[in-house]
Symmetry: C2
Subunit: 344 residues, 2 copies
DNA sequence: ATGAAAGCGCTAACAC
DNA sequence: GTGTTAGCGCTTTCAT
């Protein structure tokens, strides 16, 4: 026994308890075929020796690891961090370990899937808010690892997300209901994605306007990479258009923040002169008094984790995807159109 | 061989290459005692079979796992997410896997260290921005796992962080240099911590004022939990004090954001009526035009990762702690005191 | 209900 | 330089 003092093995437990290795194993795993008396005896020794099974040996002997890979871009942004937090909570409660892989750009993505660190390391992978392409998915499936998407949709494997289209509609419809007809949109795209896909938050805008018989003015739509700075730039351009929009719909709180800063600099009052609505309802929105569509991020994480747990316990089964509802949270950044400019 | 089709073992590689298991192992690990020719032959087979060693078996046979635990509170906040991103990049480049543990409150902390998931699972643990107490540290040391702190200081083990005192001084001195003498402070404490420790960002404020012969007005100091909302509340109180401060020093960008929102609501112009400075220089600061002291977060992560890597390669050695410099980034939120109120 | 023994996939002496 | 052979710490038939 070349064991260091601090790490007792199952064999130690067995010896001290006066039973065989096999029995000790059964007792520890609550397996059948152990008398209650023996079980208690063994568990007592486990307690006394402070024994913890080596996960590596377990995995080797058993064939599965109780480990899942979490592939996530943009840690550092609220949405992604919260999502990870939600997943971690649920998984760690179930005794499943999380291997973290951060992929910020398409190259990281590619590298992850080619090196397949997941390979032989995990039983499942959770991809946060980005699609896994068909080939990648098949390779994973071949090695028997289940895949789940959190915060994004897929046709090929189970996911949990919000209905981005509905969320967008809630935001734009809110503006429309307030009488706004000239609405700017700050849309963002993800450079993480291998190829651009249809943006449901944008489509919501187009549909809502169309349904209200409002023609879309392309100069009011700005597509940009995520980031407050870009949003501020775009907002400055919006302010220059004629007639100036009376409202702005931002795809995310961060974009809205940049916009509001630009508005403040230009002396445009919110919501008197211009209304701003966004999607996310992050802490930012609260600090800012921003009207925003709330999406339950942590809960998405929790549910994704449960789906994975299910997949682990029933290999082969395919979980049903889940779409969580969103809810408009009205704060001070939106108001009816046409409020007469207050005289200072 | 009960191997599924998709997962070749080293034994498979050896057989196909026509060498023994041992030789295959040596070749794969670039160990000594393998002729270049055989090595190439083996590696070719590895390539062809798409072989990846089972980390579990490696660890079991070798005794170490090339896995480290990352213990982090408050994912979802920029600082923590960025730090994790920095660490991940470096560690994954070195082929070390990261086990993620999220601890949001003292209870999570306690649970982490008591269940010691690290136990037998990792070779090292990195604690982000929170102290590991002496007893916890000793238990970890006993099991031979190295511990490193990122984004926080410790006297008991190596760390990498910024000099919070210096950062605070840069912020407050900037205000002082602009002629401000009545300066409010928005300080935050961490409920993650087991016990409150001296806050260097606060001390910087007290010292700076003292050195300039300015008496501290306790009513200008507000301690709060992290969050823009709390900052907004505190700011409202600051505005009510008489005479009203001409500047606010916030411990973080998020706090400053809340403050600026409160100021906007109150019709107080920044920086004409009141200057705001903070610490972090997160993307928020840029979007907001906020003067802030930049701290290199990702770099702290990178360095922490390197320290761990060193510890893994030279067990027993104690890495030297590192303190990274910070730098004031002046934007539009600060200006000289006494600017005459512009007449609207 | 319990024990003996055969692996799981790999590394590391130890021979040759 | 290469092959043989024990294990690493656990799970799991298969006996008893």
């Amino acid at each position: 026994m070349r064991n260091e003092a601090g790490t007792p093995s199952l064999a130690d437990v067995a010896r001290v308890a006066g039973v065989s290795l096999a029995t000790a194993s059964r007792a520890v795993n609550n397996a059948y075929g152990v008398s209650e008396a023996t079980r208690q005896k063994v568990l007592a020794v486990v307690e006394k020796l402070d024994f913890v099974a080596s996960p590596d040996a377990e995995r080797l002997a058993r064939g599965s690891s109780r480990r899942v890979a979490l592939v996530v871009p943009h840690l550092g942004r609220w949405f992604f961090g919260e999502m990870v937090a939600g997943i971690e909570r649920e998984l760690s409660a179930a005794g499943v370990d999380i291997l973290l892989y951060h992929v910020d750009d398409p190259e990281d993505r590619r590298e992850f899937f080619s090196r397949l660190p997941a390979r032989r390391k995990v039983d499942a992978v959770i991809a946060i808010a980005f699609p896994v392409d068909e080939e990648e998915r098949q390779r994973l499936e071949l090695m028997g690892v289940a895949i789940t998407a959190a915060g994004g949709r897929s046709t090929d494997y189970p996911y949990v997300s919000i209905d981005d289209y509905a969320a967008g509609r809630q935001a734009v419809d809110h503006l429309l209901a307030l009488g706004h007809t000239r609405i700017g949109m700050l849309a963002s795209f993800e450079r993480t994605l291998p190829a651009p896909r249809e943006n449901l938050r944008s489509r919501a805008y187009y549909d809502a306007l169309a349904e209200h018989g409002i023609a879309v003015d392309p100069s009011l739509v700005h597509d940009m990479e995520w980031g407050g700075h870009n949003a501020a730039l775009a907002t400055a351009q919006l302010l220059a258009s004629d007639p100036r929009p009376t409202a702005i719909y931002a795809h995310s709180d961060e974009l809205a923040l940049g916009a509001m800063h630009a508005l403040a600099l230009a002396g445009v009052r919110v919501p008197e002169d211009l209304s701003v609505v966004a999607i996310d309802d992050s802490p930012l929105a609260d600090s800012l008094g921003l009207t925003s569509v709330r999406q339950p991020v942590r809960e998405q994480g929790t549910i994704a984790a449960r789906m994975v747990l299910d997949a682990l316990s029933q290999p082969g089964s395919t979980a049903a995807s889940v779409m969580l509802p969103t809810q408009l949270v009205v704060r001070e950044s939106t108001g009816p159109v046409g409020t007469p400019p207050a005289v200072p």
